[in-house]
């Protein structure tokens, strides 16, 4: 083998090894950090899996903030509200400042875990645009609404 070929072989081997290590690491880190989105119905009916309903898995809860469900004890940071997907309602508790666009009858995505029948949220997602509904929530809500023959909420509207 001439020196140029040998050098090139080494280079290719080094790049391949680095790529393999990087891919493995990336795949492992990715697996550990994904959070699935479920609607209240999927959580309560057990479709989301036992890990979700038992509180072991961290997941994202998506749906609408149910009308008249928002409560906060005077002077307390603890907020209670319910998330609704048309089929089922799940109570949520969140301690902290809610995003500016948080309102009843608006789409919401909260990250957290189940604890004794209540979803304990670590964070509640805000949106830059008041007419925006996350596509994934719209998709899932769309499924619930089609079933009940209700018009799906508009996912679009600002322009």
């Amino acid at each position: 083998m001439n020196p140029t070929r040998k050098r090139r072989l080494w280079q290719v081997a080094a790049v391949a090894a680095a790529a393999a290590i990087a891919t493995t690491l990336i795949a492992m880190a990715l697996q550990r950090n994904v959070a699935y989105l479920y609607t209240p119905n999927e959580v309560l009916s057990g479709k989301a899996g036992a890990n979700v309903s038992s509180g072991q898995a961290r997941f994202r809860l998506g749906g609408m903030v149910a009308a008249g469900s928002f409560k906060r004890a005077p002077g307390s940071m603890e907020a209670h509200f319910a998330v609704d997907d048309g089929d089922a309602t799940l109570p949520v508790v969140y301690t902290g400042i809610l995003p500016d666009l948080f309102r009843e009858k608006q789409a919401v995505v909260a990250t957290g875990r189940m604890r004794g029948g209540v979803f304990v949220a670590e964070n509640v997602l805000a949106k830059h645009d008041e007419t925006y509904m996350p596509k994934e929530v719209a998709d899932k809500m769309g499924i619930a609404h089609r079933k009940h023959d209700v018009q799906a909420p508009a996912a679009e509207g600002a322009n």
Binding site: I26, N33, V34, D100, K127, H128, Y132, E156, A158, N159
Partner: protein, 646 residues
């Protein structure tokens, strides 16, 4: 009815003419260069200037529509309001989809005209091809504008009142963030067009490559500024006190940045030593493709993001098809023509500067691939029916740290090693004492930090190592007899020092950040480290187009009043949208940050207070990096004419 009424139609016409001119600019010069027909190649320059004039006219007319409040334009009515202050009427032009695309097209026309103006030293076929490829990109964007996102669409009858500009965008940071970002994105079209031209020509000429390098540096500098501005804006405007969220839209701008940083380095190696020619072309294609992908991700609304704006899926499809044509086409061309591009590369030893640059490129592109994977994984999973998922910031943060640690560790060696030859002894001798000093500083930081020891220690260690190592290079360069410090070296030194400054900011604020979120009554004090925040209540004030609850918070340090902050909660008149305006006491050693939450009843309010040590260093570091890019671009070597370099 005044003749002014017809202005938008003229704007529309200008856009259509611009599309025609861009088509000519794409077709004729490319054909001319392929067949060697000089008159066809000569079309390129005038077409570039004419296209700029037409797009600028359209942009000026849309701006006039905003300033004059022409609510018969659907876009103006949707994104402006009679109460909107005049400054924001100008910036509202790029406040939503149609206008931001028009800005994209305008900046592309600007870059194209600049290339036409400053390419006199290049052979005509190369100029014709570069401008032709930029013309193809312009055709794609102008067609996108005209057919799916016309900013001049009429609303009949005209609206009596506009819907208002999204309040989040009514902010000074937002005025310059998109133009800077787009200057970066679109600037990468120059090295991209050059790469395509080289592939068409079938060879890489060192002189043309030298000519492209300043463009890459300037584009990367602007992109750095744009990203830094976005981060700064998110920090003070979103009210969460965070400066980077690994959000899909942020990632979309970060990927071309990483590819661009890799490109800067490989271009230098290719120009000076002829190494990595094919790789440099591939990176140039990647940087611009990722810019297009970023535009697609932001504009199509396919990803759930804190930045997501309502968007139309058919537009996404158009960009996706365009993206497929541009990326697929250029990769195909690369596959067909690239193999002979590396023919004149010189061999190099294991510990040479080439090897270090190769490692730099490997780490930066892997980081880029990692971000790409994390950003697109939710889309992929959704398409494969694996469920609706999101990838958490810990994934990005961990992977990025792992990939950047070796980059930071190797960085000071880069400038001190030699091209081609193996000589580790001399750089090791020069850097050893500084490595020791950096280690001591890191240990001291570990022992002194009240919390977050590891992050603080790593931050100080990395920053000292990069900072000392870079200054060591500067010193040895200045001492060398008869050697001068070129602008290129100065730019590199500035950018590398920027990394050191950035490391201090990014890791120390992560390690030492203190935060409390709680309910307070007027007169109550919140303790946070050596600081105390006294809440003095909330009063109502009025702005031009909003009503605000304005809080008063006294910041005390060691018992003395240091400053008074006024965080606000604004309710905008037009849409009723509520916005948080945080109160920040900036400082080089740290910010005191207060954001007002909602009223909790009984006179108490939710309050979020932060102490953010060294947070300004993040943006100062980014500024240094951008400055480094700009200074490098002014190097005299890049301006040398054909005769001198021959």
């Amino acid at each position: 009815m005044t003749p002014w009424y017809l202005l938008p139609e003229i704007g529309q016409l200008a856009l259509i003419l611009a599309l025609l001119v861009a088509s000519l600019q794409a077709l004729l010069p490319l054909l001319g260069a392929q067949r060697g027909i000089a008159p066809l190649m000569a079309v390129a320059r005038p077409a570039a200037f004419l296209q700029l004039a037409l797009v600028a006219l359209a942009f000026a007319i849309l701006s006039h529509g905003f300033v004059a409040q022409d609510f018969s334009l659907r876009y103006v009515a949707g994104n402006s309001n009679s109460l909107l202050p005049v400054v924001y009427r100008y910036t509202a032009v790029w406040g939503a989809h149609e206008g931001s695309l028009l800005l994209w097209a305008l900046i592309l026309a600007l870059w194209t005209a600049a290339v036409a103006q400053f390419s006199r030293s290049l052979p005509m076929p190369v100029v014709a091809r570069v401008l032709g490829v930029m013309g193809v990109v312009a055709v794609g964007f102008l067609a996108f504008l005209i057919f799916t996102s016309n900013p001049f669409e009429r609303l009949l009858p005209a609206a009596a009142e506009g819907r208002d500009l999204n309040p989040l965008l009514q902010d000074p940071g937002m005025i310059i963030h998109p133009p800077m970002l787009y200057l970066g994105y679109v600037g990468f079209s120059v090295p991209f067009a050059f790469a395509i031209a080289s592939l068409l020509e079938g060879r890489i000429d060192a002189q043309w490559l030298r000519w492209t390098r300043p463009w890459t540096n300037v584009a990367w500098g602007f992109l750095t500024l744009g990203i830094a501005l976005g981060s700064w804006w998110a920090y003070y405007e979103l009210g969460w006190g965070g400066w980077w969220f690994w959000d899909p839209v942020e990632n979309a701008s970060f990927m071309p940045w990483l590819a661009g940083a890799a490109l800067l380095h490989s271009q230098a190696a290719t120009e000076k030593r002829g190494s990595f020619g094919g790789w440099t072309l591939l990176l140039a294609i990647a940087a611009f493709s990722l810019s297009l992908l970023g535009t697609f991700l932001v504009r199509s609304g396919v990803l759930t993001s804190v930045h997501a704006f309502a968007a139309d899926p058919t537009r996404g499809l158009f960009v996706l098809v365009f993206l497929g044509i541009v990326i697929g086409g250029s990769l195909l061309l690369y596959a067909l023509r690239a193999p002979d591009a590396d023919a004149n590369a010189k061999p190099f030893a294991a510990a040479s500067r080439e090897t270090l640059l190769l490692l730099n490129n490997l780490l930066l592109t892997t980081a880029c691939a990692m971000v790409l994977l994390g950003t697109l994984y939710p889309l992929l999973a959704d398409a494969l029916q694996l469920g609706k998922i999101s990838v958490g910031p810990p994934y990005f943060a961990l992977m990025f740290l792992l990939l950047m640690a070796p980059l930071v560790a190797l960085l000071p060696f880069g400038p001190l090693t030699r091209w081609q030859r193996e000589d580790l002894a001399s750089p090791l001798r020069m850097l050893a004492p500084w490595a020791g000093l950096a280690a001591i500083a890191g240990i001291a930081a570990f022992l002194l930090a009240p919390q977050g020891q590891w992050k603080t220690a790593i931050g100080i260690l990395g920053a000292c190592w990069v900072g000392f190592g870079t200054l060591r290079f500067l010193w040895s360069r200045l001492q060398m007899h008869g050697a001068r410090l070129t602008r290129e070296m100065l730019g590199m030194t500035l950018a590398h020092l920027g990394i050191a400054v950035f490391l201090v900011g990014a890791l120390l604020v992560e390690g030492l950040n203190q935060q409390r979120e709680l309910a307070v009554k007027p007169g109550q004090t919140v303790e946070l480290g050596r600081h105390a925040f006294r809440f003095d209540g909330v009063a109502e004030t009025r702005g031009p187009n909003y009503i605000a609850d304005k809080g008063t918070v006294q910041v005390l340090r060691d018992g003395r009043i240091e400053t008074t902050l006024h965080p606000e909660k604004r309710r905008y008149a037009a849409g009723g949208q509520v916005m948080t305006e945080s109160g920040i006491a900036p400082g080089w050693l740290g910010d005191a940050y207060v954001a007002l939450g909602e009223p909790l009843g009984g006179g108490s309010w939710a309050l979020r207070v932060h102490i953010k040590p060294f947070v300004r260093w993040i943006w100062a570091g980014a500024l240094l990096m951008a400055l480094g890019g700009f200074v490098t671009a002014t190097d005299r070597r890049f301006r040398s004419s054909r005769k001198e370099s021959a």
